[in-house]
Every structure is written in C-alpha cells, then in structure tokens.
C-alpha cells in the first residue's frame, strides 16, 4: 500500500501512499494510522494521516529513521473494515446570515442556491482527515459540478461553526479562524470539545457524514438561545 517511505527531517518518517485523493487511498492511510496507533509505541510522538500521506514523528532520543522504516515495513495491518464505519449527521443552517459566500458560489457554478443546497444535502461524505486547527474535518467528495476554488482573498475571521466548500471538499470551522473556504452555512453542533479529552473530535478520519438542513429557529434551539 505504501509506495515509498522517506525521512522528513531527522525525526519523522514520510509514508507516501500515492498522489491520488480518493477514498480507497485514504482508507489505506487510515488503516496504517490506526494499526500503528493501537500499538501505543512509547517512541512514537505523533501520527498525522492526510489524504494520501502518513507522517510519523518519533523521539530521536529513543529511536531513529532506519529503525522506524523497518517497523513500518513489517507492521501488521488491521483488517477490520468496521473501524471506518461511524456515521454522523451534522445539522446545518443556510440562513442568509450564515451563507456568506452563496452568491459567489452561485455565480461560479452557474447554479441557483436551491440547486446547490439540494445537491449538498443529498450526499454522504467521507472524512479524509482532521486538522489544520483542532478538530477541523476534511470531508469529500463533492460532485464535479459543485467544485469551486478558494476565495481569492481569504477572510481574516471565519465564524466558528461555518460550513465551507472548496474543490472536492467540505469542512467545518471548529474555531473562529482565518480561512478561504466558500461558506454556505453554519452548524450549531460542537465538532471539537477540548474538555472531552478521550474523544475531543466528533468527526474522525474514516467516518461518514451527512448534512441535514435546519431552520434558523432550530439552529437557535440547538445553540441554546
């Protein structure tokens, strides 16, 4: 499954699963990630799975790249497909106060708002990875006619809970942060909770996600207003 293992600096292994961004390649990354993580090796500091790469950083006091490379080449991979099976429904409100970039998306895609939303809410998505900021899920794949580029000038502040689309992906901003995704709605759901140390992320790599449209009244109710 791994095409090549190289070093990234002196304290990390860079596992290359190919250049494709698809569910099959990413599922292989996630299987490797979970297989290594389950072993709880004390010399491994961090594992970062992404679309088609896995970065393994290690404690240079305890091991080195050549030992880690051997370990990865010989690790037994979990066969259980169930580890990829959690399904989560994320409520999203697309009231005009939340869908900040809907006009831009309409213009770029040459589709009407209702057509865009109908397509967006009818699909099931797959979580490729989480990160950049804590808990942010990268979800795919949007249909080919729904793909739009990033904003030319990123926003300085994207509101927390914003649901955005860019190219083949959708995501949720788990914090107010700068960002360039096209915002089409907002979820009142807490996607990241730092106080839940065992399970801070609602959405994890490998999970399947669907979005459910809610009204502004329902949004306020969930949000506790």
């Amino acid at each position: 499954m791994i095409k090549n293992i190289s070093n990234l600096g002196d304290a990390a292994a860079y596992c290359d699963f190919g250049n494709e961004v698809d569910k099959k390649t990413n599922s292989n990354v996630i299987k490797f990630f979970k297989s290594i993580k389950n072993k709880n090796f004390d010399f491994i500091k961090n594992l970062t799975p992404s679309y088609n790469k896995l970065i393994i950083s290690f404690d240079l006091k305890k091991t080195n790249f050549s030992k880690i490379k051997k370990l990865i080449e010989n690790i037994e991979i979990i066969k259980d497909e169930k580890l990829l099976s959690k399904h989560i429904v994320v409520p999203v409100c697309c009231d005009s106060s939340f869908s900040l970039d809907i006009e831009r998306v309409e213009e770029k895609l040459k589709l009407k708002k209702n057509e865009i939303l109908e397509n967006f809410f009818s699909k099931e998505y797959f979580c490729y990875m989480t990160g950049f900021v804590a808990g942010m899920p990268f979800l795919g794949d949007l249909d080919k006619n729904m793909r739009v580029k990033r904003l030319e000038t990123p926003r300085v502040k994207v509101p927390k809970g914003s649901v955005g689309i860019t190219e083949q992906f959708a995501n949720v901003y788990t914090f107010e942060s700068p960002g360039g995704w096209n915002i089409i709605g907002n979820t009142p759901l807490e996607i990241f909770n730092a106080n839940n140390e065992n399970e801070p992320n609602l959405i994890n790599p490998g999970d399947s996600i669907s979005f459910k449209m809610i009204t502004i009244e329902e949004f306020k109710k969930i949000n506790g207003n």
């Binding site: 070093n7 600096g9 002196d10 860079y14 500091k45 992404s50 896995l54 994890n204 790599p205």
Partner: protein
C-alpha cells in the same frame, strides 16, 4: 490555608504557561506546543529543584512585572534576559541561571530578552493551573491548556501551591551560544524549486520577519521560485519544517504550527538546532546549511550530551 500568588502588574508581550507539550494529538489537529527552547526550560526547573516536566512561565522579548504575595519562594530565570528584582526598598539587577529567594511583596521585573526571544521563569512550587491532555502548555490559537488557553493578562493572579523546601542557592555558569547558520535536511518537495532558487536557499541570507510568533518563523530574502506546483495536497507538518508558499517567502513551522498544510516543503531544520533557531529575534539574518540525515542524528546526540552535562552541573 495560606495563599501564595504572583500579581501580574504587567503581563509582557507573549507570556504563557508552558511545559513539555503534548504528543499523540496531531491526528486531531492539536500541535505539540510546549516550551519553545526546551533546553532552557529544563535548566530553569533544575535551578529551583523542581521536577522536570513542571510548568514554567515563558515570556518573549518583553517579559512580565510580577509582585509576589505569600511565604518565601525560590525563583530562577533562564535564557538571555535583562531583569531586576525588588526586595523591600532595594532594587538590583538579577542574573540568569541563578536562583533567588523572594519574600512577601518582592517584585520581579523582566525588562527584555537580549538579542534573543524566549526566557523562562521557574519556581520551587507548583502553579495552580489547569492541565489538558497531561500538559499545561498554552496554545492560544485553539485556546487549549492552562489559563483558558490564553496569554497571561495584566492584573491577573497566578496562584502557587506546594512550595517545596528546597531553598539551596543554585547557579550555573552558562552562556547561550547564538547561531546564524541553521542546519537543515532537504525536504520532500526540494525538487519543486528552480535550480537558481535551490542554490539561493543554501547561499543567500534570509531576514527573520516581524510576523514571527510561536506558530511560525516567516522569512524574507531571495524569492524561492517554484517550477512544479505552488500547492500540494494538504499533508502533515512538524516543527522545523520549512514550507514555501506561492509568494516565495519561506516559513519555518514552530511549536504551535497548524498540523497540516498544503505548501511544498523545501527543507527541515535539524532537531539539534531547534532550540537555538527559536531564539533568533526578528530583524536578524540567517543562512541555511545542508547536512545529511546521519550527520543530523549525530548532531542531536551531541546536543543531548551537552544538555545533560549542563543539567548535571546544577546541584
């Protein structure tokens, strides 16, 4: 119960609680954080006889002015720091790498770091703060760690518990060496860049920009020209990785970096040089020097031996 605390009369520019940071959370988007200059962090705790792994106050450029309230306490400051102590009516210059005893109403005024960025204040007690995932380290971007994940603010109180009775005066003869040549290993996208830019990267000076913080060190210099693709599919990052965005100005990832990113990686700073790299202040010039993986591993072993030898000298 007696209450011991620091009253923060002036917080300083970027003053946070830090310790050894947190691991095993990159996959959910939480970076390592932790003390930027790990060696000086270790030394600070050893100077007050605190366990390694204890929380310290990290400050950058201008530090805090703190008034102490409570029963006697020992403190120490590591780094290259200009600070004053006020005991009663007496004001005097403090020395780094030396422990001091503070009494009720004494003050520490951390004026500035000298041609460096970070310094550390340790105590022979425990800061009464919150831990998340086993670490107090503050990450202000995700509001994770102690102090609600925020910088220490003016006029807040910092409570201290369990002052241990190690009041022995401790001292270390040590001067931080500064570096301009940063040793790096070629990155996974090194061949994305033009021949001229590859040469420039290892021969020209780069200026450390003012936009540098705990997340990243932004550099200005010869534009590094990408001839393949200015974006890659987003993938993991690590501290020390040097990314080059489309504008051609390299950014070195530091301890609070975003966990994934989509800019090509030209190189990675070797582990042995990280502590010294973070101490290079904005406005300084740096140069990159290429080393092989095996050399980087040896350099790290030497760095570790040197650190351990410094620690063992503090009794």
């Amino acid at each position: 119960m007696e209450i011991n605390y620091f009253e923060v009369l002036r917080a300083g520019i970027n003053t946070t609680f830090q310790d050894e940071g947190r691991n095993n959370l990159y996959h959910i988007g939480i970076p390592f954080s932790g003390a930027m200059d790990y060696r000086n962090y270790l030394i600070a705790n050893k100077l007050v006889g605190s366990e390694s792994g204890s929380a310290v106050i990290e400050f950058a450029l201008q530090g805090p002015l703190l008034k102490y309230k409570g029963s006697q306490i020992n403190i120490a400051i590591s780094g290259d720091v200009n600070f004053e102590l006020k005991k009663g009516n007496k004001k005097f210059q403090g020395n780094c790498y030396e422990s001091y005893t503070l009494d009720n109403n004494d003050e520490i005024n951390i004026l500035s770091t000298n041609k460096s960025v970070y310094g550390y204040l340790s105590i022979n007690g425990i800061f009464d703060i919150k831990y998340q995932w086993g670490s107090c380290s503050v990450n202000t971007k995700a509001n994770i760690g102690s102090n609600s994940g925020k910088k220490i603010k003016d006029l807040q109180k910092i409570n201290i518990k369990n002052i241990h009775n190690n009041f022995t005066k401790k001292k270390l003869d040590f001067i931080n060496t500064k570096i301009e040549n940063i040793r790096v290993i070629k990155g996974t996208n090194f061949n994305y860049f033009s021949e001229k830019s590859k040469k420039d990267f290892f021969s020209k000076d780069f200026n450390v920009s003012k936009l540098t913080d705990r997340m990243g060190m932004r550099l200005e210099g010869p534009k590094i020209e990408n001839i393949v693709d200015t974006n890659i599919k987003s993938e993991g990052l690590l501290k020390g990785v040097i990314q080059v965005p489309a504008d051609g100005n390299p950014i070195i990832m530091l301890s609070d970096h975003g966990t994934i990113g989509g800019y090509p990686k030209i190189a990675s700073v070797v582990s042995a040089d990280y502590d010294k790299l973070v101490q290079i202040p904005p406005g300084s010039k740096i140069k990159f020097k290429e080393v092989k993986l095996s050399d980087a591993e040896t350099l790290f072993k030497l760095y570790e031996i040197e650190t351990q030898s410094l620690i063992s000298k503090i009794q």
